[in-house]
Symmetry: C2
């Protein structure tokens, strides 16, 4: 199979057989998934943005037990959240009636449940030391010293961009590959500033603009679910693709039963971009939480990841009673095309479809 020059350059850079990246998906990807994908010749990913340093270190070791091929470790580079106790109190009050449905009270207070990679020296040291082939940034970029420090060891850097402005910032900072995340993509939108303007570019125009303006490889992310979609993205000029939603229902996924059932239900046709669950805009299968979000004022939601503390508590309370409709069921608009397969078989199917044109 012959790939365009830009794809070959990308595949050579990260030493893979196929220009396909399994999206990191914190909470859903697993070391087993990443290893299976990498063993199939694509790039597997794990996400450590929600993990402790110890857990991150173990996860990386875990991937290495499963594969000797290149893989990607994704980190969250969000700005430090602004604490606003009054806002947090009001948000918990707003969520109170939901907790009451499950005979529990809302938490008394909220915590900053994840530390941004940008301020996590220990995580930086662990990842630099572990030297995965690829490290990818979401929600922004770390400082220049860390970028230089990671590159120095030979790590290839990816960054998510949702706009030309973010993409240029990443390339100027030394990032090697841009993940062009369209508005249709599932999960957390990678916008650097969730309170700034957002032109909500979809994959099609975003990829075209970035391919025209950048010299680095651009990966299309958002709406791509099969070999036809991959072929279309390459035709558009992308060097490769990143698929997340396509991997949610794989055997190796950490997605729980509620998530899987929702993915194969009518909810897949009605994804919603909401910040009510986590504090940052993220695309989710339509459920009770996204509907709740539609009735909330945008500016009432505490910053990410403080709001996520409440969101996770509410989902736990609901799940404890058997109610599965408050989950962070992240998915993109291509969700109705999801397949339940082992991750390695999914990669093989994608390649076969791509070959078939």
């Amino acid at each position: 199979m012959t790939f365009p020059k830009t794809s070959r350059r990308f595949m050579d850079l990260i030493d893979v057989d196929w220009p396909i990246v399994q999206a990191p998906m914190a909470g859903t990807s697993t070391p087993e998934m990443a290893a299976a994908v990498s063993n199939a010749g694509a790039l597997g990913s794990i996400a450590v943005g929600a993990a402790t340093v110890e857990a991150a270190s173990k996860a990386i070791q875990h991937v290495r037990l499963g594969t000797s091929r290149p893989f990607n470790v994704n980190v969250f580079c969000h700005a430090k959240p602004r604490r606003d106790r009054d806002k947090e109190r009001k948000w918990l009050k707003f969520l109170g009636p939901e907790f009451a449905v499950f005979n529990t009270a809302a938490p008394a207070s909220l915590a900053e449940i994840y530390t941004s990679f940008c301020e996590d020296d220990a995580m930086y040291a662990v990842i630099r030391e572990a030297r995965p082939k690829v490290v990818s940034f979401h929600f922004g970029l770390p400082g220049p010293q860390w970028i230089a420090g990671l590159k120095e060891t030979g790590i290839v850097l990816f960054a998510t961009a949702t706009s030309p402005k973010e993409a240029h910032a990443a390339v100027d900072a030394g990032v090697d590959v841009i993940v062009a995340q369209g508005y249709e993509a599932g999960g957390h939108r990678g916008v650097f500033d969730p309170d700034g303007p957002d032109d909500r570019l979809s994959t099609f125009p975003l990829v075209q603009l970035l391919c025209r303006e950048l010299d680095v490889p651009v990966l299309a992310a958002g709406g791509i679910m099969d070999g036809k979609g991959i072929g279309a993205a390459l035709q558009l000029g992308a060097a490769g693709v990143q698929l997340g939603t396509a991997f949610i229902a794989t055997d190796e996924s950490a997605a729980d039963e509620g998530y899987r059932v929702a993915l194969f239900s009518d909810a897949a046709r009605h994804t919603v971009m909401t910040r009510a669950i986590s504090g940052r805009p993220a695309r989710c299968l339509s459920n009770t939480f996204t509907r709740l979000g539609q009735s909330a004022r945008l500016d009432a939601v505490p910053d990410y990841p403080i709001a996520y503390d409440a969101g996770k508590a509410l989902n736990s309370a609901a799940k404890a009673t058997g109610n599965l409709s408050y989950g962070a069921h992240w998915a993109g608009q291509g969700a109705p095309l999801a397949r339940a397969l082992p991750a390695g078989q999914l990669v093989e199917a994608l390649i076969e479809e791509l070959r078939a044109g």
Copy 2:
């Protein structure tokens, strides 16, 4: 050049050389544009949704003076607007300060400036009599008798769909070809019910879903600006493509100077979906009017096309003083890729790019 089977079937159906449709774009397309596009082997379109029956008849004759090839006549099939004098009065009051900037008063009242094709017997008779190769519906569908009446004469029917639900409704009603309009598309979003839920599917997932579910040809619309984009859409499974924004700056376009200047400005990178201008959601180059729309409550805007009466009056007042930033500068997210060329040359360039891959 070889096209996939689905494209060949589509081209045979409407007797064109290329699977490319120039979008109808009421107010921007012209008979000269349609003729030039059709003469180049693609499908030219005019839109008569904003025209009187006499003007529509003349426009059709005008196209025929320029070409003997097939062309498309587009009509608006919106639901009859609900008159709400109180709402209209409040909306005019909201717009009052804008008019005041230009030393004029807001209109005293608003009118239903366009009649929906669904209730326009005379327009139906004229179009049926004129027998263009294609008639396309936007905003919905006419009744079964008219669909049967148009098909009886050999006219091929297109309808815009923004969701699988709308697409199935159109196919069930007898429509021959679906224009799959992604959320990134410029101008008026074709949603049948502007007050209903909208999953805002982008071109990529919408085309994939419709190609999978329908037996009729599906045209991709939204974000497609060049031969690479056309190739990608065909690769995705589309039988053809519809391009609007790509034709705004052609020589034959009715776009005024302000519109053209805006298209080649930074505003092209910041399109906004707004209903403030016309009463229906439509994607517009960012300008003073779209910013005004962002400060308005959605439910404060009168129904289409009543709100459009106010929008046009405000733009006229602004233009009279040389202010060009209140125009209905419809454009899709691909706007930064627009080119100023004669329409026929643009079609030739698209084909050349498509051939080059």
